[in-house]
Symmetry: C2
Subunit: 169 residues, 2 copies
């Protein structure tokens, strides 16, 4: 998904340090992406080299200076161009689904265990998403949470149908 545009998009809102970006992503986009420092810092350096972002060193009392990045004109137009393009469709790429498909090699009880396990996890995720919905940073985060919520609910229903079907067999 290229973290390039994630960074550009967040910097379009306000200038930030790499550290700020990481925190913001974790707080508001945890369901969408992870963005480790090993991705973020090199990406910022590259964007800077290419002139899509600028850096300003801000001195601090007692601490080494921090690097605040801000998006440039050129970065802005690149971002706009990307936003206007339709998103590439991505697979459902779920390890869980692969296990379900490969379930022919499993005992019925093992399959039921797999499903029950997944049901619990999905329930927990659902709960945390509902909590996240309580205090949001911005309306866009609400949309993302709603999306995740819809997908999660759909998965729950499917799991329950599967359990009934497998249990009956």
């Amino acid at each position: 998904m290229s973290h390039r545009y994630l960074i550009l998009g967040l910097l379009a809102e306000r200038p930030m340090t790499g550290y700020d970006i990481k925190k913001h992503v974790k707080a508001a986009l945890g369901t969408v992406t992870n963005a480790s420092y090993g991705t973020l810092y090199p990406a910022l350096h590259k964007l800077q080299q290419e002139g899509a972002v600028e850096v300003e060193e801000v001195p601090q009392k007692g601490r080494p200076a921090k690097k605040v990045y801000r998006i440039t004109e050129s970065g802005q137009s690149e971002l706009q161009g990307w936003l206007r393009q339709p998103a590439t469709t991505d697979q459902i790429r779920r390890e869980f689904l692969l296990k379900v498909y490969l379930a022919k090699g499993m005992e019925k009880q093992d399959l039921l265990l797999l499903l029950a396990n997944r049901r619990c996890e999905t329930e927990a995720l659902l709960k945390s998403l509902r909590e996240e919905k309580q205090d949001l940073h911005d309306p866009q985060q609400g949309w993302v949470v709603d999306y995740a919520l819809s997908v999660c609910k759909a998965e729950m229903d499917w799991i329950k149908r599967m359990e009934a079907q497998v249990g009956a067999a």
Copy 2:
């Protein structure tokens, strides 16, 4: 998701060549993974080295011999071990969702365009999934298709809600 177990799982059903695996994946697991030759062949070599699969060269008339891989005892037990473990939860990692989140930087019309675009794509996917459901190779594929169908429907509903909300604003 490691294609290692995908290969092991398919070979557990019946011996296959790398080419067969590719075709089978495309036909039955297209929504879950892609598996290019660049992944498949090296993975098969590695599995062979480690003794999880065996190879048999089958001569053909007029053509060079093909390599038919079959799973070994050791491969079987590795597969079973993996199947028994709960699947790791994966993110929703959708480029589309990121665009939605970054929509603050967009004009209202651009956002509506993004949504409409996505709606069409999802509709098309839904249609092809329904067709896929008509002629299935095995019941497991049916489960996977059902899953994809559920998730797609959830996405459709969400898109429509979003469109109504954004349109009204």
